[in-house]
C-alpha cells in the first residue's frame, strides 16, 4: 500500500439557498482555495474526481458544465461519481494506490435548494415498489427512528441531546456551518413532532455548498504541506437497497467498513460522523463501537450543515483540519449515502507527529 495523505481542504460557507450564483460559480472559489492553499494548479494534479448528482440540479450533465470551474482544458484525467464526494475521494485513493499518479483532486457540491429536496431524494429508492409511494427522505429517516425508539436502542432524550450539541458545537467551532446556536435539549424535546416521531431539530438543514480536497502520495505529500494527514485505512460497504430487507435499528455496513478500515475505538481521539438525523449518530455510534465519552462531530456535523453529496466529504476534510491543527492525533471520518444509512464509508486519519 502507498501512503496517501490529505494535503489541502476547503469548503464554502454553507447556506440555505445560494440564489445569486450558479453551481460552477459557487464551486469555483472553493476549488481555487484548495489548490491555492498549497500553491499548485490543476496542471499539477494527476487525477480529478467529483461527486454530485444531476437530480439535485434538475439539469442533465450539470456535473460536466461544473468542470469548467477547475480548468479542464487542455484535457485532464477525470472521473465522476453519482455519490457523496467521500466516494470520489475513495476512487481517487484507489487511483493513487495504482501508482499511476501522485496527486489527486476531489470535490463535491450541491444546490440542495433547487427542488423539493425530500422529494428529489425519494428518487433514490427502488423504482418498482417503493419509489411510486414517494416515500421522502425525511419520512424514510422517521421510519428508522421509530423502529430504533421501539427497539429501545435510542431514546428521544438522547436524540435531542445530539441535536442540541451539534448546533452548539457548530457555534463554538465552525464558521462554515449553517445552523449555529445554543439551544438546550429540553427545548428540542418541547418541539411538536415534525415527521413521525422526529422533531424538526432532529432533522438536518437544507444546505447549498461545496468542498474540495487534495490528496498526495508519499514524499509528494510532504513536499506539498507541513502537516499531511495520512489515510491509514479506508473502506466502504453497503446494506441491501430494499428497506424491508434491512434491520433499520442497526447499521451492519458501517460496522463492517469500520472493521475493514482498521478502526480500534480506544485508539481514536475524535470522530466526524456523517449523521444527517440525530438518531443516525446514535445508531452509528452503536454500530462502530464509539465510546460514550468520545468527542463526536466537533464541527457540528451534518445537523449543522448538510449540502447533499458533500457533507460526507466535509467530514473527512473537517477531520483533516482537526488533525493538522494539532487538536487531534488519530480520528475516524465517516460518510453515508442512500436511504436510512444504507451505504457507509469509514476512514482512519492520522497526523505525522
Amino acid at each position: 500500500m502507498r501512503d496517501v495523505a490529505i494535503v489541502s481542504f476547503a469548503q464554502s460557507h454553507h447556506r440555505r439557498a445560494v440564489e445569486d450564483l450558479n453551481e460552477v460559480e459557487m464551486l469555483m472559489p472553493v476549488t481555487r482555495e484548495a489548490l491555492d492553499n498549497i500553491g499548485i494548479g490543476i496542471g499539477d494534479i494527476g487525477f480529478t474526481c467529483s461527486g454530485s448528482t444531476d437530480y439535485l440540479a434538475g439539469n442533465a450533465f450539470s456535473f460536466v458544465s461544473t468542470l469548467d470551474g477547475i480548468g479542464p482544458w487542455p484535457p485532464i484525467s477525470e472521473s465522476h461519481v453519482e455519490m457523496d464526494g467521500a466516494w470520489a475521494l475513495y476512487e481517487a485513493w484507489v487511483k493513487l494506490q495504482t501508482g499511476a499518479v501522485d496527486t489527486a483532486f476531489v470535490y463535491s457540491y450541491s444546490k440542495s435548494s433547487s427542488g423539493d429536496l425530500a422529494m428529489v431524494m425519494s428518487r433514490q429508492l427502488d423504482p418498482y415498489a417503493v419509489g411510486p409511494l414517494w416515500l421522502d427522505s425525511v419520512g424514510c429517516a422517521a421510519l428508522a427512528a421509530s423502529a430504533a425508539l421501539d427497539a429501545g436502542v435510542v431514546t428521544r432524550e438522547a436524540m435531542a441531546e445530539v441535536a442540541a450539541r451539534s448546533r452548539r458545537d457548530a457555534l463554538a467551532n465552525n464558521e462554515y456551518a449553517q445552523l449555529r446556536f445554543d439551544r438546550t435539549a429540553a427545548a428540542v424535546l418541547a418541539e411538536p413532532d415534525h415527521v413521525g416521531l422526529l422533531h424538526r431539530s432532529d432533522c438536518p438543514p437544507i444546505s447549498d455548498g461545496a468542498a474540495a480536497i487534495v490528496l498526495a502520495a508519499g514524499d509528494r505529500a510532504r513536499e506539498l504541506c507541513d502537516n499531511p494527514v495520512w489515510i491509514r485505512g479506508i473502506d466502504h460497504r453497503i446494506d441491501p437497497m430494499a428497506l424491508g430487507y434491512r434491520d433499520l435499528t442497526d447499521v451492519p455496513s458501517a460496522r463492517l467498513a469500520a472493521s475493514r478500515a482498521g478502526v480500534v475505538p480506544a485508539e481514536i481521539d475524535a470522530w466526524e460522523l456523517h449523521a444527517p438525523f440525530s438518531h443516525d449518530e446514535l445508531l452509528l455510534r452503536r454500530a462502530m463501537g464509539v465510546p460514550d465519552d468520545a468527542v463526536v462531530n466537533r464541527s457540528g456535523g451534518a445537523l449543522a450543515a448538510n449540502p447533499m453529496l458533500t457533507a460526507g466529504l466535509i467530514r473527512i476534510g473537517e477531520a483533516s483540519w482537526q488533525i493538522s491543527s494539532g487538536e487531534s492525533e488519530r480520528m475516524v471520518a465517516h460518510a453515508t449515502q442512500g436511504p436510512a444509512l444504507q451505504q457507509n464509508l469509514v476512514a482512519v486519519l492520522e497526523g505525522d507527529r
Binding site: 445560494v18 440564489e19 445569486d20 450564483l21 450558479n22 453551481e23 460552477v24 460559480e25 469555483m28 476549488t31 481555487r32 490543476i42 437530480y55 440540479a57 434538475g58 439539469n59 458544465s65 468542470l67 469548467d68 470551474g69 477547475i70 480548468g71 479542464p72 482544458w73 487542455p74 444546490k111 435548494s113 433547487s114 427542488g115 423539493d116 422529494m119 428529489v120 428518487r123 423504482p127 418498482y128 419509489g131 411510486p132
Partner: protein, 183 residues
C-alpha cells in the same frame, strides 16, 4: 434456480412492465454570468465575458474559463454580426417542435467572440447556407424584449464576403476567404 410460487400465483400473468411516472419541479439559478447576459438582452445588447488570463470571450458565459478555471470577469459588448462555423438542416419534426420544415440550425461565432452561439438561421433557403457565411441577429421589437435568447428571433445572411473557417470550426480570418483555407 426454479422459483416455486404459491398455488394462488401459479397461473397469474407475469408483470413484464410497469410505468412509474415522476415529476419534480426546480428553481433554476441563472447565476452571475448568465444574469449579466440576460440583462443585456433586455437592453438589446449581446454581452460576452472574457477570461482575465487568456482573454477569450465567451457568449453567453457560464461564469468560468474552462482553460483556466477562473471567473470570466471582463464584460465585452459584441456588435451582433457573426460567421456561421457549422450548421445543420433539420428535415425531421420532433416532439414539441413548432418550426416549419426544413429549417436550419446554425453555430455562430459572433465577431469578437471565441466561442459559439447556437441559433436559427432564417431568410435563407437551406441550400444557400454555407460555412463562412456572415449572419446578423434579427431582434424582436424593443417593447417585446424579454430576458431570453428568444428575444433574438433568428439570424439571417448578411451581404458581406465570406470569412475563413478552419477545419476545427473556428474563424481564422474575418475577411474574404483565401484559397486553400487555412490562414
Amino acid at each position: 434456480m426454479t422459483l416455486v410460487l404459491p398455488e394462488s400465483l401459479r397461473d397469474v400473468e407475469a408483470v413484464t412492465r410497469v410505468a412509474t411516472p415522476a415529476r419534480l419541479e426546480y428553481d433554476f439559478t441563472a447565476g452571475r454570468a448568465t444574469t449579466t447576459f440576460l440583462r443585456g438582452i433586455l437592453e438589446h445588447k449581446i454581452l460576452g465575458e472574457a477570461c482575465p488570463i487568456c482573454h477569450k470571450v465567451y457568449v453567453p458565459s457560464r461564469g468560468a474559463c474552462p482553460s483556466h478555471g477562473v471567473p470570466t470577469s471582463e464584460i465585452v459588448e459584441l456588435a451582433g454580426p457573426g460567421v456561421l462555423v457549422s450548421y445543420c438542416v433539420v428535415n425531421v419534426a420532433f416532439h414539441g417542435s413548432v418550426m416549419e420544415l426544413p429549417y436550419v440550425g446554425g453555430l455562430i461565432q459572433l465577431e469578437g467572440a471565441d466561442m459559439f452561439l447556437m441559433h436559427l438561421i432564417q431568410e435563407a433557403s437551406p441550400d444557400e447556407v454555407r460555412i463562412g457565411q456572415w449572419v446578423e441577429p434579427v431582434w424582436r421589437d424593443d417593447a417585446d424584449l424579454e430576458a431570453t435568447l428568444e428575444s433574438i428571433r433568428y439570424f439571417r445572411p448578411l451581404d458581406r464576403p465570406d470569412a475563413t473557417v478552419d477545419e476545427a470550426g473556428h474563424v481564422v480570418s474575418w475577411g474574404p476567404a483565401t484559397r486553400g483555407g487555412a490562414a
